[in-house]
Every structure is written in structure tokens, then in C-alpha cells.
Amino acid sequence: MKDWRYWLAEERGTLLAFGIFIVMFAIYSANHPAGFTANVVQTAANKGVLLAFVAMAQTLVVITAGIDLSVGMIFTLTNCMASWLVVGTGLETVFGVLAVLGTGLICGAVNGAIVIYGRLQPIVATIATGAVFFGLALLLRPVPGGSVNEDLADFLTGRFFGVVPASLLALLVIVLIVWVPFSRSELGRAAYAAGSSETAAYMSGVPIRRGKFLAYTLAGLLAAIGGLFLTFFTYTGEAAYASGNAYTLFSIAAVVLGGVSLFGGKGSAIGAIFGALAFRTIGDLLFVFDFDPLWQPLFQGVILLIAVSLGAFALFRVRNRLEWFL
């Protein structure tokens, strides 16, 4: 009867992020010299999906009340790897893609193992592993270079039927085969439960450790998919320290914009995807309005601050209670 109201409450964060993105993108394309064309959408999508993949990765970990400061470095490492391996004949390319994705899984699993079984703080553990991943990336690509199977790259960064950006479709497919099963699986729910109240989850016999481990591992996988797409867009591999760190920090911003609670237990990767797309659009907006690039970081920061505060107001209202102190 009142089911839709509950649905609305559950999806509020995601819908808010969706709304912010739509508004921003409407302003952007309305003011773009070329207007709302397939080309503009394709370019925006290709830039947006990279952060979207990394933000999805961050979401999984944040849901467990953790944080992954190594996602950007997994993204960088897999980019460097792909620039070596995703080349040559069809079979070689397939092997290369699998190797890159496998590496992402291993990176995520290492993070998970250290945090869950080693009982280290996620923030410290992932700073350390992130440095290791970057070190490996640097060994693979001391200087930018390499190449990629261009047929595959062009196919995945082009358009379907002349209008739909292939990268967006790829994002949709990944959502359907990674996020949807995860969020509806028993282990996915365990990840949420662990993030919301680990004691209560333990008392209820929830498989907390396996749930969290899966979340960290899949986060590695998603970051690697992001790294793969970066290679498809740039045709090269580069161990860029600043870019890796920027992706990590932007992913946290995107996750918060997308209504995922940093306290854990709440939020969806769909929200984080819209958060990521919205975040990217902020940068593009400044471009179409001919802002001096020097101003860009400052404005990006201010807009982000405003958007994040929108979500925080509700928090103030809810937490005004005794538990707040105890």
C-alpha cells in the first residue's frame, strides 16, 4: 500500500544523485557550443565511466564501513599492465584482459585479507598497499608507453547504432553482472550488515568476514575494469602518481555525492555512479562557461562542498539523540 514510500526512502540518496547529475548535464549540454549531440554525450560518457568504475569499487568497501585508498593505484597498475598485455591476436587479447582483471581481483583480495584477517585499519592498510601497487606500476612503465588492441578499444569507446556510447553500455553490463548479484546475495547483505553494526551482525550469525572479503575483492575487480577502460581511451599505459591519487579522492567524493554513507551500511553503487558522472560534469561545466582553468579546482571544490552538505543536513536531524554521546 505504502510500499512506494519505503522505496522512495530507500532510494533517496540515489535519486538525489541522479537529480543533481541530470540538472548539471542539462545545463552543460544546453550551453555546449555543439549542443546535445551524440558526440558530446560520447565524450562525456567516456570521461565519466572511468570515475564511475572506480567509484563503484569504492562503494563496495565503504558499505562495509571501510575505505579503500588504493583504488586509484589499482586503476593505475592495471592500466600499465593492460598496455603490455591487451595486444596482439584475438586470443592474446582475451588472455590479456583476463590477466588484467585477475590482477585487480588479487589486489582487492590482498586488501581484504589484510583488513579482515590482519585486523589493520582499512585506511592505513590501503595506503600501504596502494603504494605497493603504484611501485609495481612504475616497474611496468617507468616511462609512459605501450599500446592496446585498437579494434577492441575503438569498439568499446565508440557508439552503438550511431548514438549510444559503448562505454555506457559496458558500464550497464558491469552493473548487471557485478553489482546487482552482489547487492542481492547473502554475502552482499552481510557486507551491509557488517557496515551498519558489526556486533549485531555477529550476534545474528551473519558471515561478516566472507561478506567483507568479497566486497574488497570485487572492489579490486571494478578498479581493474576502470584501468582497462583507461587504456582503451588513451592507447597507452602510464604510472601517473597524481592521477592515481586523484581518482582515489574523487571516488570518495563521488560515493558521498551518490548517497553512500561513509559510516557504512547504507547506499548503492548506482548512486555512486551518478555521483561520479555528476562530479565529472562539474569540471565540464566550468569548461563550457569559459572559466579560466586556474579557477577550476576551486569551483569544483565549492560545488562539491555544497552538494555534500545537502546530504549531511538529514544526518544532523536523525542523530540528535543520546546515542550520539555514548
Binding site: 519505503y6 550476534m203 550469525g205
Partner: protein
């Protein structure tokens, strides 16, 4: 009742936490199709007993058997598997998940490896209906529900697991009268379906209404087992009393203090936890707060200390109404209040910081000039305190976490004494500290009172209340039930009032047995 053979049996179960023995060779036998009540005062070992049963803690020794076969539970999940389900006092619900998610949490229905949400919804609705709580929407988030509704969800969650043995630990403590009636009907039906129920409650009238069999615990041992109704309430209270008296208390002053009240409360109420509380504490007086754990004593102290919002009623200091909005306001100016918190590790101390830093935190404003700490004055005051309380530490510059529990507690107390408070609120300050330090604290408390402090002292240890207090106010359900004065402070009176034996239980409306 057909089961002559016991369904579940515990034999010789012992459990120690550090040096404290929580259970000492305890036995328990549970039969199918009956409701078994467990009685005992605070710290008698009831909670540990059910934690052992539910696989939350592992016993140090002893054996458990189910259907005659020996069993051990490595985790709550393992106990659930065996059909033992516990509704804990501290709720085990996950706040950010929905009611339905919570009900099926330990074993969600699955289709193609994913959670089947339709089936989940059906199970949740069934379970809620069985628990008599079909007014709760399965999609509502648990964190949005009031406490009494959460407790009903907790019960529904337990029922959805199809238990053979259901343990209810104070499961009705947060319920409204209407809900209690519903839950009782459910429990009686479960009994007739052949479940074994273990019922832990401090409400004697509930036990009289429900139980078939009772077991009394004291000092970690089961001291008596008898069919329900075969003993009078007074006999039961006698069984619950009887610990060794090992504490030495300072002598109390003779005659009531004639000083004017320093701290007064008039009709203080807060949420549904404090109910119309009026009290006064005079200078030089030690007033105890008694009653079972969790009847609003903590909230009362927090209310005085300015922690609670939305307080109704009046607080008076020296006869003048004041409004205390924060702990800072409570400790400053003419109020001069100090609260020694219950959990020194989180609310009292910054464990990694040094003894010196911890000691001067609360008094920094008094020790500094223009924002700069006067180190000489700080040192003098710290030396005084270390001497007064005989704090044993290898130095002032070691982390306070390195001290023993008793000495840590002394640091917490010293920290507040550095402000020379006129009103001292103590929240169960002797929990988990050794007997020697306890005695020192009793002496100190009396010394401070003699020097003119007004002391409000909550303790879960009845001996302490008897030994230290000039008056004791016994709380039940957020209200003061009785005031005991001087010679009238006896263990029997404390326990009887704590259990609310004399007087009816207005919340359940079931009528108490006098």
C-alpha cells in the same frame, strides 16, 4: 508436558573473565514444552549462562548436551543451527537494514544464488504476524522504529528461525503493556507447540504468570530449582541474597544532615526512561541510587550532567532553578558538578595520553592564564591528587592505559577532584576494580562528603549501597519506588524493592503478587 527426558542440559559450566568468576560449576536442565525462568540479582551469572548456551562465549569448563548428545558451539551461528535462538537484552538488529532483511538475516531464502525478495517478504510477514506485530511494515528500516517496535521485530526474527529452544533475556523490558500481553500469548502458544523457553526477567509478576519451573542463580552458581509457585516471593529473595561480605566500609555519621539541599530535582522526566523523579541531596550526604541495572539510574546522572536533550522538569542548585545544557556548563561556575562515568575507558580517560595530561584535562581552565597552562600550578595540584588518592604509577608521563584498572579509576576521580566539585555523581565506579582499591574509594567518598560535597552514587553492588550511603533511592522503570534511610537500608529491602514486589506493575497491568 510429555518430555521427561531433558532436551538440553548444561553440567559444571565455569567461566572466568580475567580474575572475576562469572560462572562456577553451574548446571541447568531444560525440558521441551515448558517455560523455565532464571532468576538472580545483578552479576549472578545469568547473562553469562545464556551467552554460553547461545555460542557467544565459550565456557572454560563443563559440558552441554542436546537430545542426550554432547554439543559445543563455536559461534552464535552454530547454536542457531542446533535450534537454540536467543533474544538478547542488547538488541541484535542491524539498524540500516529493513525489518524483513533483519528477520531473515541468518538464513535468507535464495533463488539462483540471490536473495529471493518475495519469499523474504512472505517469511517476514508471517513471522511478524506470529509475534503479534503485523502493524510493522516489513520494508521499514529498523533504525526508524521506536525501541518497543524493535523489540517486537527481535522476537519475530527469533521465531523465523524455527527454534527448539528460545531464550528471552529481559525481552519485555522495552515493551508496552499491550505488547507484553501479545508476547505472552505467543510464548504460551510456543510452549504448547513443544518448544523449550528460557525466560529471564526481573519482573516477578511476569515470572509468576508464565513460568513452569524456576532456577535461582547466585554468585555464578545455580542455588535452587523449584516448580513455579512453590515458593513465596520472600523466599525467592532470600535465595537470591547471600554473598560473602568482604568489604570494609567507613563509619557513617550519626543523625541526618540538616544542611540545605545542594542538588535537587523536581518532576524530572526524559523520553520514556525517566519518570517524574524528585530528589534532593544535601551537602555532606552520600545518597545512593539502587535498583536493578538499567532502570534509569544512568540516565538520571546524565540528565543532571547536561547530557540529555528534551528534559522535562526542574533541576535546582542551592535551591535555585538552573538549566544545564552541557557537561561544560555542569562542571563550571556555581554548579560545580562532576560525573565519574561508568566506562572509564571511553568516557573517562584518553588511554594513550599520559597520566599528567589526563589528570589536568577537566581543570585546564583553572590552571591556565591567557590560554597558557601554568605548569607549576598544574604540578602542585597533580602532586596533591596523586598523594590524596595514593595513585600508584611509575611516573606522570606514562600512558594512563598502562595503569591497573583500579588506578585508572583513581585517575578519573582525581581528574574531577582537581576542580574541587561540590556535587559528585558516581556511575558504578567500582565495577571491575580490585577489592583494595574499592575500600580506598569508599573511604575517599566519605572524606569528600565530610568536607562538604554532595554525593549521588549509583552502584550495582548492593553491599556498597548498604555500606556507603546515608539514604538510598531505589529506581524501577525510571521512577523512584522507595527511599531507604539509615538502618532501613538492608539487602532484603533493596532487592525486594528492586524487583518491585511490593506494589503493582502498572506497565503490564497483570497485577503483582504481594
Amino acid at each position: 508436558m510429555d518430555g521427561a527426558a531433558p532436551l538440553f542440559r548444561m553440567e559444571g559450566i565455569s567461566k572466568r573473565y580475567g580474575g572475576v568468576r562469572a560462572l562456577e560449576k553451574a548446571d541447568l536442565t531444560v525440558t521441551a514444552g515448558s517455560i523455565h525462568a532464571i532468576l538472580g540479582e545483578n552479576g549472578a551469572g545469568k547473562s553469562t549462562l545464556i551467552k554460553v548456551m547461545a555460542g557467544v562465549v565459550a565456557p572454560d569448563e563443563g559440558a552441554m548436551s542436546l537430545d542426550g548428545r554432547e554439543v559445543t558451539f563455536a559461534s552464535p551461528a552454530a547454536a542457531n543451527q542446533a535450534g537454540i535462538v536467543c533474544i538478547f537484552q542488547e538488541l541484535s538488529l542491524i539498524p540500516e537494514l529493513s525489518v524483513a532483511d533483519n528477520i531473515v538475516i541468518s538464513d535468507p531464502p535464495k533463488r539462483f544464488g540471490m536473495i529471493d525478495r518475495k519469499a523474504q517478504r512472505r517469511i517476514a510477514e508471517e513471522a511478524l504476524a506470529r509475534a503479534g506485530a503485523s502493524d510493522i511494515h516489513p520494508r521499514a528500516l529498523v533504525k526508524d522504529l521506536p525501541l518497543s517496535r524493535r523489540q517486537m521485530v527481535e522476537i519475530a526474527k527469533a521465531l523465523a528461525r524455527k527454534p527448539r529452544i528460545l531464550i528471552l533475556d529481559e525481552a519485555t523490558s522495552a515493551l508496552t503493556a499491550a505488547d507484553v500481553a501479545k508476547v505472552f500469548a505467543v510464548l504460551k502458544r510456543l510452549r504448547s507447540e513443544g518448544l523449550a523457553l528460557l525466560y529471564i526477567s526481573h519482573r516477578m509478576n511476569e515470572i509468576a504468570e508464565l513460568a513452569d519451573h524456576c532456577t535461582v542463580f547466585r554468585n555464578g552458581r545455580n542455588v535452587a530449582s523449584y516448580p513455579a509457585g512453590s515458593k513465596s516471593d520472600n523466599e525467592v529473595v532470600e535465595l537470591m541474597i547471600g554473598r560473602e561480605y568482604s568489604h570494609i566500609f567507613p563509619p557513617k555519621p550519626v543523625g541526618a544532615s540538616a544542611a540545605t539541599p545542594v542538588l535537587e530535582a523536581r518532576n524530572l522526566s526524559w523520553a520514556d526512561r525517566l519518570d517524574n523523579i524528585s530528589l534532593s541531596v544535601r551537602a555532606g550526604e552520600v545518597v545512593g541510587l539502587g535498583g536493578l541495572d538499567g532502570q534509569g539510574q544512568r540516565e538520571l546522572l546524565l540528565a543532571f550532567f547536561g547530557v540529555l536533550r528534551g528534559l522535562r522538569g526542574e533541576v535546582l542548585i542551592d535551591g535555585k532553578p538552573v538549566s544545564i545544557a552541557s557537561p561544560t556548563a555542569a562542571s563550571h561556575g556555581r554548579v560545580g558538578m562532576a560525573l565519574i562515568p561508568e566506562d572509564r575507558k571511553t568516557e573517562g580517560l584518553m588511554l594513550p595520553m599520559t597520566v599528567r595530561e589526563n589528570l589536568s584535562f577537566a581543570a585546564l581552565d583553572r590552571l591556565s592564564k591567557a590560554g597558557i597552562i601554568d605548569r607549576a600550578a598544574e604540578q602542585r595540584l597533580i602532586d596533591d591528587m596523586v598523594g590524596l588518592l595514593a595513585i600508584k604509577t611509575a611516573g606522570l608521563d606514562i600512558p594512563v592505559g598502562a595503569l591497573s584498572g583500579g588506578n585508572q579509576q583513581k585517575v578519573v576521580i582525581a581528574k574531577w577532584l582537581m576542580r574541587q566539585p561540590r556535587i559528585i555523581l558516581l556511575n558504578d565506579p567500582t565495577r571491575g576494580i580490585d577489592v583494595g582499591t574499592k575500600q580506598e574509594l569508599y573511604q575517599l567518598m566519605r572524606k569528600l562528603a565530610d568536607a562538604g560535597a554532595a554525593i549521588l552514587f549509583y552502584s550495582t553492588d548492593y553491599d556498597e549501597l548498604i555500606g556507603c550511603c546515608d539514604r538510598v533511592l531505589v529506581l524501577y522503570d525510571g521512577a523512584i519506588k522507595r527511599e531507604l534511610v539509615g538502618e532501613g537500608i538492608t539487602e532484603h529491602a533493596l532487592i525486594a524493592t528492586a524487583l518491585n514486589i511490593h506494589g503493582d506493575d502498572r506497565r503490564t497491568g497483570l497485577g503483582g503478587k504481594a
